[in-house]
Structure formats: C-alpha cells, structure tokens
C-alpha cells in the first residue's frame, strides 16, 4: 500500500491547499483502485469465485501495455494512437486471457469447495509471476507520459498532474458505464439475474458457460485496464500483483462482495484514508486501512452495501464424519516414518537436518491451520499472523531481554495464543469469505506492525541473532528438539479433535442450529479453537525463528499464509493425516523445484492446478480412496 500520490506535500504545515491536493491524490488512487476492484466484484457476483489471480491480470495489463506502447507495432504510430491504442489493446488482451483461464480451468471447479477455487486461482498467480519474469525480466519498467495529459495544472497555487485529474474522472465514468451495461443491455441483465440465482437462469434457457466466460472477460479486462493506466504513474514491477490484490480485497470486502457502488464507495474511503493517514499518522497508514476494514466488517458483516447472499448457497462440502482411526497400513507407515526420523538423522549431513527441522515446523503450522479449517469449518487467509507472532515473541525476547531459547519457546504459544484470542474474537463471528477476509486483514495489521514499527521490530531488516541455547545449537540436537515439540503439538491437536471439545467443534460446523439447541456455545467453541490453533502456530513460528537465527516480516506475510493454506488443501481438509502429508509434499516440492529450476513457481503452480483438477479431495483423500476402492 505504498502508493504515494503526486503533488507537493508539506508535512510540517498541513495547510488547506495541501489538504486539497491530498484529497485529489486520494481521488485519483480511488479511481484506479475502483477499476480493478469492480472487475473482481463483478466476477465474484456471478461466479462466486474469489479470484486471487485478479492482481496478476492487473500486473499483466501493465506489462503488456508497456510493451505495446513502447515496443510493439503500435509504438510506431507514436503519439496519441500509439499510447491510447496500446492501453486499450492491453486491456482487451487481458480480458481474453481471463476468459481463457475461465474456459480451461475455473469452469471445472465451480462446484468445488470455495477454498479449492482459491487454491486454483493462487496457482495462477504463481504461474503468471514466473511467466512475467520469463518474458520481461526482473527490472522495473517505466512507461512514457500520456499524450495530451502531460504536465500539470495549478490548483490553489500547487501543481497537480493532468494525468491524475484524468484518473479522477475515469472512476465515476467507469461506474456509469458499468451501470449502463448492467441495466441497459441483455448481457448485463442476465449477469444480474445470475448473481441472484444462476440455476434459475439456466432453467430459462441461458447457457451459463457463455455468461461466465463473458464475466471473466469483462472483469479481467477491467483489471488489465487498471494496470495499463498505471503506466504513466508508476514503475511496472514484478510485485504489483500482490500489492494490488490485497488492496482490492479490502475494497471489495468493505464495499460488499458483488456490489459495484459499494466498491466505488470503499475505494474512495480507503484511498482518502490512506491519503490523509500519511499526513496525520505517517507510521501506521497500513494498520489504519486494515483497522477500518475490521471495524466495517464487525459493524456490517456483509460490507457497506453488500447483501446477505439469498437463496441456496453454493453447494459446499457436506459435513463429513470424523475419519475413523487411521487404517492399519497408514498407522504402520506412520510408526515406520517416526522410527526412521529418530534413527536416521545422526547419519545425515548439516543441510538435510536443517531441512528436516524446517519441515517439522511447517507440519505443525499446517496442522494448526487444519484444526480450524477441517473440524472447525472456518477458513483463515491470515494464519501466518500467529506463526509470525510466535517467531517475533521469541525474537523480541532475545533482542530486548536477551532471554534464552527456553523462555522464547514457552512465551511463543502464549503470545500467539493471545493474539489469536484478540483477532479471533472478531473473525469467528463471521463465516465464509467474509471471515476469511477478516483474518487476512488482521494478518496484514500484524505484518504492518512488524514492517513499520522499526524501533521495536527492526522493520524490514528484521531481528538477527535469535539463536538456540548452547545445548540445542548443534543441528542434530535442534532437529530432535523440533521433532519433539512439533510431534507433541500435532499429537495434542489430534487429542483435542477426538475430545468432547472436538466433537462440539464439529457439531457447530455441521449444524449450527442443532449445536445451539443441545447447548453448545458455538461462538466460544470457535473462538477457543482459533486461539488454540494460533498457539500451535506460534510454537511452529518460534522453532522456525531459532532454526534460522533471525526473523523478518516475511514470516507473517501473505505468501506464508498461503503456504499454510496450500499445505492443508493439498493434504485434504477432511483427513487427519492430510496436513502432515500436505506440508511435506508442498515444502518438499518447493524445495526440490527451487533447486532444479529457476521457474519453480511456474512448475509448482501447474502441479497445484493439476492436483486441484484431478484430486479435489487432496493427497490423503486420494490415497484413502485408492485403498478403499
């Protein structure tokens, strides 16, 4: 969220003219944000898919526009047509790419559980990241100025770029055009109808496939346009996708999923907040934005202008019984693996031991997320917050109090658990996508604190020197410590699932009404489960920190949360061995791929796509089915 607007600012004296310029900056940002957010919200309205890859389409739009404007055949035209033709062509091309993605991948998973769809779109993110690197390289790209809109105008004695004024106008104009599309064309009316009840639309003879492909074309083209229009404003970089997708999620969720006017309003709110936040509280702008999101969602769980989804919710996984005791062969395999893990390491080198310890922490991290997703039926997009809380608890103790590892390992679950209690109190009240988005918001707040509160956390430079105590400094000893603690954590989580607490947890997941009727306080149960999972993630985080000897804000950023999601989903949500298998498969795959090829994201993305399309119940589910068949 580091988009500083243009214009002249003086922080010392926020006089009226500065405030006006800052408000205008906010409006320009709001327009760009709305363009991208409108695409996401339109796609969600019809397809109910939260498209992580939307940010990637935005980034692709910017790169493609850069190529078209400065290198393509159009560039030869130069001037007006060279520039604006390139921008529009880029938007259209991105629309086509979005439609293609819908036809080849997303179409097959409309009936899959929400999280699987998310997984598939995240795989697209990975694929696009590497493709962009492959085609355009890692260097930032700078576009030309826009013809006719070069230079600045004078407002209250301060210079304000023309292009920003143009952007300010684009937002409302696009809102108007979209309104016309949705109210004055047959396609738009069908889309609105499908947003409400797509089955009924089909029963009236409308081929939904065309609608869906159409809506992906429209939404992706809007993302592409949003990206292309950034060209004269800021450098095109390979980090644009993640930066924008988080902002856009915030806008869309605050506005109300599926609501265009809501997205417009939220884009204004968030952008102005950001613009003025920089004046008033330059250090906590990021926290501010996510705080507003949290407040909005607590007060209006469906966003500013969102409505509670009517009619039948999309088919979700029916409540599944707790998997019985693991089949004999699996248990045998587990014991054999444990024996190997105990007996083999003395013969291993340094590097494999480091890897093994990392894997152990990741397994516990995945198991903790699985605890709330599987038996709890909740989703978290921000589980890294608790992993990071544990890591930072250890690191802060080491840095500020010179505390030994033992103290850090004990403090980590308590600290992470407390953070979990605090964040969970808000998150577990909501359900589905909104709850997941709130977890994301809180994780971003935590990340912003780690990133911006430099005095305490060291900011981007992290905290170094987080070493284990003397006795555990050897790689072998540290591995046994990791194995013991993570094994204990996973075992305790499994015990909790089988205990009355776990039964109550599953009861509220399967049938909230019935659970309430037999006296289960669903809120309390969910809240406690959330905190418990957070504490377990904290242990994993602290071990990870001691293993690396350092902590950085990346230990609680979005990619790490996504890692956890991928591990759980790969393993399969409804099996107990899932998170273990998933963590090992995912981390192992990533590790191997990173060593084999520079394009590991591409390969990993393709592998995930293949898994989602062919093994929708995860690895453990697939194994069990094979045995059962």
């Amino acid at each position: 969220m580091s988009r500083c607007g243009a214009g002249v600012r003086s922080r010392a004296d926020p006089a009226l003219d500065t405030l006006v310029i800052q408000a205008l900056n906010g409006l320009a940002s709001a327009s760009s944000l709305f363009l991208v957010a409108s695409g996401l919200t339109v796609i969600f309205g019809v397809s109910r898919i939260v498209n992580f890859a939307h940010g990637s389409f935005y980034m692709l739009g910017a790169y493609l526009a850069w190529t078209l404007v400065s290198h393509g055949p159009l560039a030869g035209l130069g001037g007006f047509w060279g520039f604006w033709g390139g921008i529009l062509l880029a938007a259209l091309a991105i629309g086509l790419i979005g439609a293609l993605a819908e036809m080849t991948i997303l179409r097959r998973i409309y009936r899959a559980p929400e999280l699987f769809q998310l997984l598939a779109t995240f795989a697209l993110v990975l694929v696009v990241q590497d493709l962009v690197l492959l085609f355009w390289g890692p260097d930032d790209k700078f576009g030309p100025r826009a013809p006719l809109l070069r230079g600045a105008v004078e407002i209250l004695g301060l210079r304000f770029p023309r292009y920003e004024l143009f952007l300010i106008a684009i937002g409302p104009v696009m809102l108007g055009l979209l309104w016309l599309l949705f109210h004055r064309t047959r396609f738009g009316i069908l889309l609105r109808a499908a947003t409400q009840d797509r089955e009924m639309v089909a029963a009236l003879g409308v081929d939904q496939r065309l609608l869906f492909t159409g809506v992906f074309f429209l939404g992706s083209a809007l993302a592409g346009l949003g990206g292309a229009l950034q060209l004269p404003r800021e450098a095109v970089t390979i980090h644009m996708d993640m930066a924008i997708i988080v902002q856009v999620f915030v806008v869309v969720v605050v506005g109300g999923l599926g609501s265009l006017p809501g997205a417009f309003l939220a884009a204004l709110l968030i952008s102005e907040l950001h613009a003025f936040g920089i004046l008033a509280f330059p250090r906590i702008t990021l926290v501010l934005v996510f705080l507003v999101m949290a407040v909005v969602l607590v007060l209006r769980p469906h966003g500013l202008l969102g409505r509670e989804p009517e009619g039948a919710p999309p088919a979700s996984e029916a409540g599944q019984p707790l998997p019985g005791p693991a089949p004999r062969w699996l248990r045998g395999l587990g014991w054999a693996a444990l024996a190997l893990l105990l007996a083999l390491p003395p013969f291993l080198g340094e590097y494999p031991l480091i890897l093994l310890a990392d894997f152990a922490a990741l397994v516990l991290f995945a198991a903790s997320l699985h605890f709330i997703m599987g038996p709890g039926g909740m989703a978290s997009f921000g589980h890294a917050a608790y992993f990071g809380a544990g890591a930072y608890a250890a690191a802060l103790l080491a840095r500020h109090l010179a505390a030994p590892m033992e103290a850090g390992l004990i403090a980590a679950p308590f600290f992470a658990g407390l953070v979990g209690l605090a964040f969970g109190w808000f998150c577990v009240r909501l359900s589905g996508v909104y709850s997941a988005m709130l977890t994301l918001a809180f994780a971003q707040i935590a990340w912003s604190l780690a990133f911006q509160w430099i005095e305490v956390t060291g900011g981007d430079n992290g905290i170094l020197g987080v070493w284990p105590s003397e006795w555990a400094r050897g790689r072998l000893a540290f591995w046994y410590l990791s194995l013991a603690l993570c094994g204990l954590g996973v075992w305790l989580l499994r015990r909790a699932i089988h205990a009355p607490f776990g039964m109550a947890l599953r009861a509220q997941r399967d049938s909230p009404l019935r659970a309430e009727a037999i006296g289960i306080d669903a809120f309390r149960i969910r809240w406690l489960a959330f905190a418990l999972a957070a504490a377990a993630a904290g242990v994993a985080g602290s071990l990870f920190a001691y293993g690396k000897g350092s902590v950085f804000p990346s230990s609680l950023d979005i990619p790490r949360s996504v890692d956890a999601l991928l591990m759980v989903l790969l393993g399969g949500v409804q099996t107990l061995s899932g998170p273990v298998l998933g963590a090992i498969a995912y981390a192992g795959l990533q590790e191997q791929l990173a060593r084999l090829t520079d394009l590991w994201r591409l390969v990993l993305g393709l592998v995930i796509l293949a898994l989602v399309l062919f093994f929708p119940s995860g690895l453990a589910g697939a194994l069990q089915r094979r045995r059962g068949a």
Partner: protein, 233 residues
C-alpha cells in the same frame, strides 16, 4: 408429446424417485397429485435436468432429454415455473421478463411483453417495479410470465396456487385455462384439488416417489375412496 419412463432421482444419497412413468399428450394438462413430500417437485426438476435423473428416460417428441443440461432442455421447449417461484428479486418486472425471453419458435405465436400483460393485466401497471416489492400472487404471475417469454411448447407448473388467496387462485386458474385453450401443453403439480379439477385432463398420483394411480382427472374426482387413500392428510 412428453413421455417419462422409469424415472429415478437422488438427492445426494437419498433415493427420492423410484421409477416414475407418465405420458402427456399435446394440448393436454396433466396434473401430478400427492401429499407433501410425495415427489412432485422432484419429478419436475428431474425432467428439467435440475436434478439429473439417475435412471430412466424423458422423451419430448421422442427426443431424449435425460442427461442434457437444463439450458438445453429449456431451449428444446420446456418451460419451468418452480414452486418457490425464484423470481429475480433485484430486477424489475420488465427485466425479469427479459431474462426469460428466447427467440420465437416455429409454429407458435411468439410471446411479447404486450401479450404477457394482456394475460396478466396486474403486471402491466408495475413494469418498472422491483420484483422484491410484489405480492405473492403477483410474483407467481411474474414467474409464469417470465417462463412464457421463452416460448415453451410444454409448461412445467409447480403448485401455482400455493400460498395464494382464494380470489387469486381463481384468477390463476383462469389464466392457466386460457393458456391451455391456446394449445399449450402443461404438466401441473397441485395440492389444491379444486384448481386441479378445473384445468387438468389427466391425473397422476404420487406417493413416496412412486406412481400410485394414473387416469383421467374426472375419474379421480368421482372416486372419493381413491382420493381418501392417496390425497387426504
């Protein structure tokens, strides 16, 4: 015109229809009767492809419908009016009709908004009204009107009288009779015997997902014992 043979259907693992068979001749009204939960709505959904039949045949003019997606079945001439109406609440009356509109069908007088408003004059005065702000009766009319805009040759009408005041039920019966008089074939589902008797030619009585009786509607109306056995609550 419509022939259903040995139709089976499941919701998840629950086996709901156990070999339903029925035949409907062109221009006729056939009424599905049966207590709550007998399987009337499920039969319609299975014909429409909304609940994919797990076995059996659905033939429209000897063309197999089973296994086709709902939109294809609709395009072949089936018009479905669900029991819950499922009008698009956020859309206006005109927009709801627009969603249902399909190209004219050879040999049929095409439906237009004007022709709809002639059939349901109540709707004519509220073209721009949001469907969410309509009474139950008006919503039912709109649901039928929306489906008619697709120029169906066969109408699946699921309990059109449900939850309506007696006066409105009567008006609905008049409208259905008018549609029948214009040559539309109708598969009706009803619990209101008066309504059914007023418009139906044939009756099929369902119980627990199986056909228990097939015969002319008039015969069923004469046979009090039969009615007591399958229909009284």
């Amino acid at each position: 015109m419509l022939r259903v043979e040995g139709l089976h259907a499941h919701y998840g693992r629950a086996h709901i229809l156990h070999g339903v068979s029925l035949a409907l001749a062109k221009g006729e009204v056939l009424c599905l009767l049966g207590r709550n939960g007998a399987g009337k709505s499920t039969t319609m959904k299975a014909i429409m492809g909304l609940v994919p039949p797990s076995a059996g045949a659905v033939l429209l003019d000897e063309r197999e419908l089973a296994g086709q997606p709902p939109h294809a079945i609709a395009r072949l001439g089936l018009g479905y009016v669900p029991e819950e109406r499922r009008i698009f609440a956020g859309l206006t009356v005109s927009e709801n009709l627009e969603v249902g509109r399909r190209p004219p069908r050879a040999g049929l007088q095409p439906w237009s908004a004007d022709r709809i408003f002639a059939l349901f004059p109540a709707l004519a005065t509220m073209r721009q009204r949001a469907a969410s702000r309509m009474s139950g009766g008006e919503q039912q009319m709109l649901a039928i009107a929306r489906t008619l805009m697709g120029n169906p040759t066969l109408l699946l009408l699921d309990e059109p009288s449900e939850g309506l005041a007696p006066v409105v039920v009567e008006r609905m019966a008049v409208a259905v009779a008018k549609l029948k008089a214009e040559g539309l074939s109708i598969l009706l589902s009803e619990q209101n015997l008066g309504f059914a008797a007023a418009v139906a030619d044939q009756a099929v009585v369902l119980e627990s997902g199986s056909v228990r009786h097939t015969g002319p509607m008039a015969e069923l109306m004469r046979d009090a014992e039969l009615r007591a056995k399958f229909l009284s609550v």
